[in-house]
Amino acid sequence: MSVDAGLEPDVITAAKVDALAADVWDSLGLGDAGPVPGAAEDDRLVTASVSVAGRWTGHVTVSCGTDTGRALAAAMLGLDGSNIEDADMADAIGELANMVGGSLKGLLPPPSTLSLPHVITGPGATHHFPHARPVCRSRITAVHGPVTITVWHSTAERIHR
């Protein structure tokens, strides 16, 4: 499911995030990715986040079930999917967040910086950003399974005024 609900409706939209993600998936040989209706989340998730800091400050999270995460990692590494270690899964999902975040950064007014990825894994593993709110959520799927991409806009500036 794609939901537009943003402070930056013209700059960051679910449709644009869908397109950025499709470019990333295509370039990595992960198949044709497209929007998918909401589906039940796996209990055990792998979620990667990167942060953008600049005139626009926020975060991008990429999250999927660990079965999907291992399948994506196997495809990215060119390996058999049956023996993917947690470190490689985290590396792969972190790199997807890095690429989607870097592409998103390209849509934003410069200057800004992009952080290194941070990855968590576990039951319901989800990043919490107390001073940010989700402005855009994109759920895409390709051959390896559904992935949710969320863009968070930081509200810290307003808090400090």
Binding site: V24, G78, D91, E95, N98, G101, G102, S103, G106, L116
Partner: protein, 120 residues
């Protein structure tokens, strides 16, 4: 020729290696480093002919890696493979002495275009 791939992501090092082959640059020896500091050591140990480096890496960034190389008088061809391809970053890269910047997501054609002048 010997190509050094510097990236903190093992997955991305693998993807860069695969894309080099897809771009027709197989048959070259590949060596790897996981950050700029390891890259500097690999340059000393392996004496690569070309360097492909990520920009954002822990311990030492790709930009600091390039600046350290050029400060020591080493003119090894250096290109960034990075998720950030803005005009500002391309200008910073060029001013620091990079020959090219390939932005992720990339294609084999982008590798061909950037590396053909270097690898022939």
């Amino acid at each position: 020729m010997k190509i050094l791939i510097a990236d903190d992501s093992r997955v991305m090092r693998q993807i860069v290696s695969r894309t080099l082959r897809q771009a027709g640059f197989d048959g070259h020896e590949l060596v790897e480093a996981s950050n700029g500091r390891e890259g500097l050591q690999a340059v000393a140990d392996e004496k690569p002919d070309v360097i492909l480096s990520d920009w954002n890496m822990p311990e030492m960034s790709g930009l600091a890696f390039l600046q350290a190389l050029r400060a020591s008088g080493q003119a090894i061809p250096f290109g960034f493979v990075t998720s950030e391809g803005s005009d500002d970053m391309r200008a910073v890269a060029a001013n620091a002495g990079a020959q090219f910047l390939i932005a992720k997501p990339f294609t084999a054609e982008a590798f061909q275009e950037a590396l053909q002048p270097v690898l022939g």
